[in-house]
């Protein structure tokens, strides 16, 4: 008796939860990456990751009209120093600097439509979508001699813009409207370019589903980019055992020089 009451309460609760979930997010995302690991080997010249997914409609019958998918791939944060060159005695010299303690080493957005169309600037800010909405940490401004200084907001803004501009030029920050394409009603795919100069580390690929400018579901998956094989071995050794590494490099070169003279010496 009591057992069956408990059972029916649980059932009702579950039904209520499901109904609530159904109301809160009509549709749900299912996504996967073509690969969760990118290996930087000796033939690495950049690559492309493919993300594919589907929108599972929870409320059949409703037509998805203003539905958008935004994919954000973000790399590991690291300090980045931006320097401004100034003319000193006719020569361009690195002068003032601003260091951002947590700048993502990579940040790419692919979306079905331009972000301005998909959502309001407020939504973008709230969700931190777009590199200009990412918190880079408290910037630290220094003069040429390394002493801390306080910059005017517009000066600091110029440094911040320069960081984004420079990274965009290196293709490390990218925004690709149209990078996500729907194949029919529910299936979609996104391609994101990974240039050869990407930093190694843990990346996340976060997918947002928008309906009429409101986010209704998100899903994120990890992505590792790391050196592999001989590249990894050399890099590791150069950093963990630099003396031995340097010695090997120099002795190898000396051996090559000896070999050359041994071959040369025999006429």
């Amino acid at each position: 008796m009591i057992g069956s009451l408990k059972y029916s309460i649980a059932l009702a609760l579950a039904a209520a939860l499901l109904a609530a979930a159904g109301a809160a997010r009509a549709d749900q995302l299912v996504t996967d990456l073509s690969e969760h690991q990118i290996a930087i080997r000796s033939n690495f010249t950049g690559t492309q990751i493919l993300l594919f997914g589907a929108v599972e409609a929870r409320t059949p019958g409703t037509r998805a009209l203003n539905r958008d998918v935004v994919v954000v791939v973000q790399g590991p944060n690291a300090p980045a120093m931006v320097r401004r060159k100034d003319r000193v005695a006719g020569i361009w010299v690195n002068h003032d600097s601003v260091t951002y303690p947590a700048a993502p080493g990579y940040y790419a957005i692919a979306s079905t439509r331009p972000l301005e169309v998909t959502m309001t600037p407020e939504t973008r800010q709230a969700l931190r979508i777009g590199i200009e909405n990412v918190d880079l940490g408290t910037p630290e401004a220094r003069a040429i001699d390394g002493t801390p200084q306080v910059l005017q907001p517009e000066q600091e803004n110029a440094f911040w813009k320069a960081l984004i501009r420079n990274r965009q030029r290196e293709r490390l920050y990218a925004n690709v409207p149209g990078g996500v394409t729907f194949l029919g009603q529910t299936l979609f795919r996104a391609t994101v370019d990974i240039p050869a100069n990407v930093p190694v580390g843990l990346y996340t690929a976060k997918v947002y589903l928008f309906q009429d400018g409101e986010v209704i579901d998100t899903i994120s998956s990890p992505l590792y980019i790391d050196k592999r094989g001989i590249e990894r071995f050399i890099y590791r050794m150069a950093h963990s055992d630099p003396f031995l590494y340097g010695l090997l490099a120099v002795l190898g070169a000396a051996f090559a020089g000896w070999l050359a003279s041994a071959i040369m010496g025999r006429p």
Partner: protein, 307 residues
């Protein structure tokens, strides 16, 4: 064919690097120069980070100077005692150069200093070589032999700590060779060069060593100074890319063989004028980059190079 460099962290074309190594090796074999002061700017033009260009280049100089030193060893044209004294200065210079390099990297000025030093040396040496080779070409045409002024005793003979160098037939103070070694060692750490273009004139005109032992002795000390510089760059700056170094050495070794042979057949003075022109051009290009307004006055500097 592209290959990803593990330390420079960028892909490069293998054939480009091999061709560069071979070209510089050819010139180095032809003129008996290390070629470092040509290779480092070229690597920087290619987009290799200047620190990696300098650090890696020192391994290439080790290879070419070992070849040179061995050739002179068999000809017994090395003054080991003088080489040793130069080496004392060279070791100290290399160590201090590495610390200067680190300091400048921290200040974010290393790229500028490398460029400035190169502009200075390339233009001065290029101009001097140009003048000399043009004069020699004229002399060959006109038949007049350029006269060299005989040396009078200089201030060097007044210095203390004199030592006898039998092989060089010299009895001079050890201070000038130590200073020369120190200066060249510092340059080697900052520029990724052997420094033969400084040490050889210094030995001839300053120390007044007989020309037959000058080149061998300079090779001897360059081997050890650049070897130390290479190891220090690896330890202090993680700036030696073994893959890049390997490619440069392969290209360089092959190129040098042909350079040595070509030198026996081709008109040396005209070629020297050509080399001088190349040096001046590279110097001009580097200097031009320093004075023209950059496309973007803002740039991103690596803060902690992957510790």
């Amino acid at each position: 064919m592209q290959i990803y460099l593990p330390i420079a962290e960028m892909p490069v074309n293998v054939l480009t690097i091999l061709a560069m190594g071979a070209t510089i090796g050819f010139l180095s074999g032809m003129f008996g120069i290390g070629g470092g002061f040509l290779m480092t700017p070229l690597l920087i033009f290619l987009g290799i980070p200047p620190a990696v260009a300098v650090g890696t280049q020192s391994t290439q100089v080790v290879a070419s100077s070992v070849t040179g030193a061995l050739a002179h060893f068999t000809r017994k044209s090395i003054d080991f005692k003088m080489g040793g004294i130069l080496l004392i200065g060279g070791v100290a210079g290399s160590v201090s150069g590495i610390f200067l390099f680190k300091l400048l990297t921290r200040l974010g000025q290393i790229d500028l200093v490398i460029s400035l030093v190169y502009v200075l040396f390339l233009s001065v040496i290029g101009a001097m070589m140009m003048v000399e080779s043009v004069r020699a070409i004229h002399a060959a045409r006109g038949g007049a032999v350029p006269t060299r002024r005989g040396g009078h005793h200089s201030w060097i003979h007044g210095l203390p700590f004199k030592m006898r160098f039998r092989r060089s037939k010299l009895y001079i103070s050890v201070i000038p060779p130590i200073l020369v070694g120190f200066f060249v060692g510092t340059l080697s750490a900052i520029m990724g060069v052997g420094g033969g273009f400084i040490i050889i004139p210094a030995m001839i005109y300053l120390l007044r060593m007989p020309t037959n032992v000058v080149i061998g002795t300079s090779f001897f000390q360059i081997v050890f100074v650049t070897a130390l510089t290479g190891v220090l760059h690896a330890v202090e700056n993680f700036a030696v890319d073994i893959v890049l170094g390997f490619l440069l050495v392969i290209g360089g070794v092959v190129g040098a063989q042909y350079g040595v042979r070509a030198a026996e057949k081709l008109p040396a003075e005209q070629l020297r004028a050509l080399l001088a022109a190349i040096l001046l051009l590279i110097g001009l290009r580097l200097g031009f980059d320093l004075v023209t307004t950059p496309d973007d006055v803002y740039s991103i500097v690596e803060v902690a190079p992957h510790r």
